[in-house]
Structures are given as structure tokens and as C-alpha cells.
């Protein structure tokens, strides 16, 4: 009874949050838009057949999109008490830990499932739209919707929720869930591409194909296996949670180690003479940049994302190196292999860097210091640039290492010129935009949301046939291959133009920060 009430309370919490509304709206829009507007139909949902077949495929594809939703809802529910400092109060109640965690999980999973209902609703609504694509407007029996929802989508979403519950409990952070979602998508893509048997493919795509041929047994076996896996993951999460300490983690420095004594008068006097000139400002910029870079690089999320990206690079490069591909072709493969991780790093860490002082409740102390606000902002951009350069170096060095392993010369200069420097520049352009959006946002999550909207808008423009680089911030002819490789004569001009715009964004954010209202807000 208590668990059910708590789960209901968690569901209410999720429904009241802005993330639920945004995701539900975007999900509905994407489904209806894909049906009604040719240009908005992304490739994965084109050519999916019609009628019942389309209904089943759309449900399956959308469960992959919902991985990040599940990571967000379940991760937040599982870690909210620790993040808000509420955990000691909860743990001092008689509520059992397993029941409490199950309640949080139940409520969050219910929110994910409720949100997912926008998919069948969107499909139904799309059929009523005038001018809808005939394949999408074709009738489908209710049984198709029920099968797609309850036999395919719901088990997939429950599996995802269970996985993210286990990750959140193990890592005690939402970042662990985000990284898990990225890893799952990457591994899943590699696995499906390699032809996994239907029983072992977790999201039922292959088993659903067998269903088309009239064979239900593979799907039933697949669902049973992976629902069982979901139960095991939930059990694992409960076990991990039960082992976590109830009270404060770690030994606190004891005041007995530092007994109070009367202060000698001499200690009160100071010889420090603060300066407020350009040298001091430069030092402040360097110190703050170093601080942000350290915080980012030390974060487990960053390290895991880097490892994932490196893994992808190595896996894609090695066969090509062995085949004797030219260095310029290998760099192009490297760029293709390491496309997602920089975007995730930019998305996540611009928010982490910009809101760090507020999150750690150091903002008032730093805000009362005589350091110019633009210096603090420039340090954020500089740190982002340094982190992106580090990413480029870390992945760039993989290619010379593989070349040496294959008995070929490392060609470091070519990698530096055609990958490390140009890609750092390209990523920094995107990073400046993401950072600028954070400076406009009332919160880190809103800043993330704005950047995601930018990414979706880019995709929509592409699908609408508006692919001119002039309409896409940061893009240039031949992108993502740098002009030194593509040989495109206009690319540098475009990159210069976007660089100028990025400088303007930095200037605008800094100028806004000078105003007393912005500083004292």
C-alpha cells in the first residue's frame, strides 16, 4: 500500500515536471509530423510499410528514441534524494529501502509509459490529417496497436527503465544513466549490424520480423528472456541499494583534530596586497580555466564518453589500416567514427561548466569577489576549448598508434593538420553556441533543452531539403570533413564566418554579464 502510494507520488512528481511535458510534446509532434510532412520523415521511419506493419515499426523505432527519456526519468527518480540532500530524512523513516526504491522506479517507469502513449495517439491523429502520407494514413486494426504497444514497446521500455535503475543505483548519478544510454545505442547499433539472433536482440526488431512470417514463438521467447533480464536488473538495483550506507558517506574530518585556541594577534595581520590590473585578470582567467578543465576531465562521465568514442574509433580504423587505406581516408573514417561523443560532451559539459558555481553553492562567494564577470565567462569558453582539444588529441593519437602497429609511419603532422586542429575548431564553434544558450537559460536543464532544439531544428532543415551550409550554424561545404581534406575552396570562408559569429556570441554574453542586473541576479 505504501509502495503504491509512493509510486503514485513519484508519478505525480514526474508529470508536474517540465521534462515530461516537453518530451510528450516533441514525441507527439515528431510522430504526427512524420506522417503529415514528407520533409520531416526521418530516414529510419521511411519505407516501413503501411498499416499494421507501420504501426509496429514506428513503435519499435520510437522505443530507441525513448532510451534517453527513460534514462532521464528513472535516473532522476533514483538519485533525487541524494542530489537534494533529502536522503538522510528518508532513510530515517521506517519505510523499507527496497519498497522505497521500487516505488520510485514504478512511478518513473509509469511516467515513461504514459509519455510513450503519445506515439500511438500520434499515429491515430496522423490518420485524420488531410494530406497525410498514404502509408501512414492506411487503416490498421486495433490489434496492431495493442500488439505494438504491449508486446513490443512496453517490454522494451521496461527493460530500458530497469537498466537505468541499475546504472543510477550503481553510479549514484544521472550522468551514469546518460553514458549508459549512449553506450547502449552504440553497442546496440554494432550488434544489430552484426546480425544478432532474434532471441538475443533485446528490443525485438528481429523477432518482430519473424512475426511477419507468421512465427510467434521467437517473439514470445525474446520477450520472456528480456523481461526476465529486466527483473534481474531491478533485483540487482535493489541489492546494490541495500548495500549503500544509510548515513553520511565517508569519514568526515573531526573537529578534535583541529582544536580551537585563541588566535595570536600577529596572525591577524596580513602582508597581502591585492592587485586589480591586467596581470591579475589574466591570472584569474588561467586559474578558473584550469579549475573547469580539471572538474571536467576528472568527471567519470567524461572519461567513459572518451573511452566509448575511442573504442568506436579503434574498431572502425583497424580494419582500414590493415587494408592499407591512405591517411586522408583514415582521417575521414576517424571523423565519422567520433561524431556523436563530441556532441554529447558539448551538450552535457557546457551545462556542467557554466552552472558549476551555482550547483556547488559557491556562486555567492565567487560573485562577491572583485573579478570581472567577463573573465569568469571567458574562462568557461577557454575550458571548453581545452577539453575539446583534449578530445581531439586523445582520439587523434589513436590513428598514428594504429599506423605504427601496422608497420607504417605515424604521419603525426597530417593527423594534426587534418584532424586535431580543424575538428577542435569545428567542435568549439558548436560548443560556443551551446555555452551561449546556457548563458541565456534560467537553468542547466533548460540550456540542454535549447541545444537539443537546435539539433532537432538542424535535422528538420535537412529533411526539408534546406541543406545550404549558410543556414546551418557551424556547417561548411564538405562538412564534417575539413577543407584540408575535402579540398573545397569555399569551406574556409564559411568556417571563418561562423568563427566570427561565435566571437560575437562570446562578446554578447560578456557584455550582458557586465550589466549590474546580470551580475547581481
Amino acid at each position: 500500500m505504501l509502495t503504491a502510494r509512493l509510486a503514485g507520488s513519484e508519478l505525480g512528481q514526474q508529470l508536474r515536471g517540465p521534462v515530461f511535458r516537453i518530451v510528450a510534446f516533441v514525441s507527439l509532434l515528431m510522430v504526427v509530423g512524420a506522417a503529415a510532412i514528407d520533409a520531416l520523415r526521418i530516414d529510419v521511419v521511411s519505407g516501413l510499410g503501411s498499416g499494421p506493419e507501420l504501426v509496429v515499426r514506428v513503435h519499435l523505432v520510437w522505443t530507441l528514441f525513448y532510451l534517453f527519456t527513460a534514462a532521464s526519468f528513472v535516473g532522476e527518480a533514483a538519485t533525487r534524494d541524494e542530489q537534494t540532500g533529502f536522503a538522510p530524512l528518508v532513510r530515517a523513516t521506517p519505510a523499507s529501502r527496497p519498497a522505497y526504491l521500487l516505488a520510485r522506479f514504478g512511478g518513473a517507469a509509469a511516467a515513461v509509459l504514459l509519455c510513450f502513449l503519445t506515439v500511438p495517439l500520434g499515429l491515430l491523429a496522423a490518420r485524420l490529417l488531410p494530406g497525410a502520407d498514404p502509408a501512414w494514413a492506411a487503416p490498421a486494426p486495433l490489434s496492431a496497436y495493442l500488439l505494438a504497444l504491449f508486446a513490443l514497446a512496453v517490454p522494451n521500455l521496461l527493460l530500458a527503465c530497469a537498466l537505468f535503475l541499475a546504472l543510477a543505483t550503481a553510479t549514484r548519478s544521472m550522468a551514469g544513466c546518460l553514458v549508459g544510454a549512449v553506450a547502449l545505442l552504440g553497442l546496440y547499433g554494432a550488434g544489430v549490424g552484426g546480425g544478432v539472433p532474434s532471441l538475443f536482440e533485446p528490443f525485438g526488431f528481429v523477432a518482430a520480423e519473424a512475426l511477419r512470417a507468421g512465427a510467434a514463438a521467437p517473439l514470445i521467447a525474446n520477450r520472456a528472456l528480456w523481461l526476465g533480464a529486466a527483473l534481474l536488473l531491478v533485483g540487482g538495483a535493489l541489492w546494490l541499494d541495500a548495500r549503500a550506507p544509510r548515513g553520511v558517506v565517508g569519514r568526515r574530518a573531526n573537529e578534535r583534530a583541529c582544536p580551537v585556541t585563541a588566535p595570536p594577534r600577529a596572525v591577524v595581520e596580513t602582508r597581502a596586497r591585492p592587485r586589480h590590473d591586467a596581470r591579475a585578470a589574466l591570472l584569474q582567467l588561467l586559474v578558473r580555466t584550469r579549475h573547469h578543465v580539471r572538474e571536467t576531465v576528472k568527471a567519470p562521465t567524461f572519461r567513459i564518453l572518451l573511452l566509448l568514442g575511442l573504442g568506436s574509433c579503434l574498431a572502425n580504423l583497424w580494419p582500414e589500416v590493415r587494408r592499407g587505406a591512405a591517411v586522408r581516408d583514415l582521417v575521414a573514417t576517424l571523423i565519422g567514427s567520433f561524431a556523436l561523443v563530441p556532441v554529447v560532451v558539448i551538450l552535457f559539459f557546457t551545462g556542467e561548466i557554466h552552472w558549476s558555481d551555482r550547483v556547488h553553492r559557491m556562486d555567492r562567494i565567487v560573485g562577491a569577489a572583485p573579478v570581472a564577470r567577463p573573465v569568469l565567462l571567458l574562462a568557461e569558453v577557454a575550458a571548453l576549448g581545452a577539453v575539446l582539444l583534449l578530445l581531439a588529441l586523445a582520439t587523434g593519437v589513436a590513428l598514428p598508434m594504429l599506423l605504427v602497429a601496422a608497420g607504417r609511419p605515424p604521419d603525426l603532422a597530417a593527423v594534426l593538420e587534418s584532424y586535431v586542429l580543424p575538428k577542435t575548431y569545428d567542435w568549439l564553434l558548436l560548443g560556443v553556441l551551446a555555452w551561449f544558450l546556457q548563458t541565456l537559460s534560467p537553468s542547466k536543464f533548460a540550456g540542454w533543452g535549447y541545444f537539443v532544439l537546435f539539433l532537432i531544428a538542424n535535422l528538420a532543415l535537412d529533411q526539408a531539403g534546406l541543406t545550404d551550409p549558410a543556414l546551418h550554424y557551424g556547417r561548411y561545404p564538405g562538412a564534417p570533413v575539413p577543407p584540408v581534406l575535402s579540398g573545397n575552396a569555399d569551406a574556409q570562408a564559411y568556417r571563418g564566418w561562423w568563427g566570427g559569429l561565435a566571437l560575437l556570441l562570446i562578446f554578447a554574453a560578456s557584455a550582458k554579464a557586465r550589466t549590474p542586473e546580470a551580475r547581481a541576479g
Binding site: T261, P263, T270, A272, R275, R288, H360
Partner: protein
Amino acid sequence: MLVLENVALTYADGTEALRGVDLSLRRGIFGLLGPNGAGKSSLMQLLATVRRPSCGAIIFEDINLLAEPRRLRRLLGYLPQDFGVYPNASATSLLDQLAVLKGIAGKNERGAEVERLLRLVNLWDVRARAVATFSGGMRQRFGVAQALIGRPRLIIVDEPTAGLDPEERNRLYDVLALVAEDAVVIVSTHIIEDVASLCDRLGVLAGGRLLFTGTPAELAAPLRGRLWTSDEEPSSGLVLSSRLIGRRRRFRVLAGAAPAADARPAEPTLEDGYLAVLKGAHPC
């Protein structure tokens, strides 16, 4: 000298946190008393330049805080009511970083300053440990240390003794008393005992208004001869406070004559004066 003229603060949701606050302070310690939600922290944030008033003027020496906030920050030390720390940052590294932000550019100069401050607050022996692992009292001591970096001439300390034991409190106020010889120190608190022996002057803030400013003696003395204590429910006068002692309730009452049969004259305390101000019964 710090001067506030008609300072007001209204938040975006319409809450009037401060209304028409006038104040002028010289060197020494000024205690700001008030109940929770009175506007003390809002006033401290204005003085620390992390928030801007809706109207009014704040002048420190020749610096107009609203026009030149950064110039004021060069002379400012601020300990917020509630602050966090960066994870995994040691006391030394965090103080060093804050010293850079306060303009101490020389590495040796900073090192000497960090050592001086950590010794002052007796955290030198744990300088290499992460501040995030400190106990509450140690964290507050660290907070005081960072507020004293450089030579602040305006020191704003917001509820510094919350969670500290009596020995820690006394130690903290010893430090502030020493630095107050060359600075204006404003300490906000809702604990009367904190200001009793420490502050040259004090103010009582309630509902965003400064209801009283003066010395501690001026707060309590006017009630002399009008304060009574009784164990019976009083039939007249204004009850300033009541407290359960054992199973009996004891009243402190402000009245011209004995308000109950068992009423006895009482010597007014700072708390009595404070409560009289809050209830609008102080003759100030």
C-alpha cells in the same frame, strides 16, 4: 563609513524583502537581529553586491555600491549564510583559488596569505584535506578564512554561528573582534546571545523594516521597571514570551503594573528588548 539610504528590495514575485532601510555604520561590529524571513540575508546580499536593490543608495567610504560594485568588492569579505564547496578541493587549493579571484597575484604572497588564514582559523593541520569532508564547524571556519582574504574593510557575515558549538562561536567572534578594529563588520543572526557581548551597535530587522538601531544597552534598558515575570496567565499587559519550565509555563510580561497575582519585577534582557521591538512595544 557605510551609509544606506532608503534601500528597498522587491523580488520578481512581488515579495517586499526590504522596505526603506536607512543605516549608517562606522568601524566596529554591527549585529543585525531579526526573525527568520525578516530580510537579513537579503540585506547582506545587497551589501555583498550579489544582489541589486530595487531603490535606494548604498555608499561605502567614497564608493557608490550600485555604480561601482566591482570597486567595492576589492574591499569586501563575504561569508554567505549557506555555501558549498567544490568537490575534492583541499582547503589550501580552494583558498588559493579564491585569493587569486581577490587579486593576490604573487604565488609566494598567496601562499603566505593562505597559511596565515588557515592558522588563524586553526585549519592548518587539515589544509590538504578536501573541504567537502569537513565537519560543519570546520566548514564555517573555512568560510571565515575566505572572507578575510586580503584586507577587507567591509566584512559581511551572514548567520555564521549556525550549527557551531559555544567554543566555536566564541572563537569565531574573537577573530571578528580583532579584524573589526580596521573594518566595518556586519554580523546577521537570530541568536541574541551572539550580539550581547560582541556588538558595539545592533539593529532589529523585521518584515523588511529596520525597527531599531542602537546599542545593546539602549535595547534592554528602556524596559526597566516595566518588565514582570509570572507563572500565572497575566490578565493585563503584553506577553513578550512564555516558556515551559518543568510543567509550568512562565511568562515575561511588559506592563505598567503587576499583571498577575504572583508577578515579580524582572531585569530586562536583550531578548526582552528584541521581542518588545518585534511586538511594537519598545519605546524606541
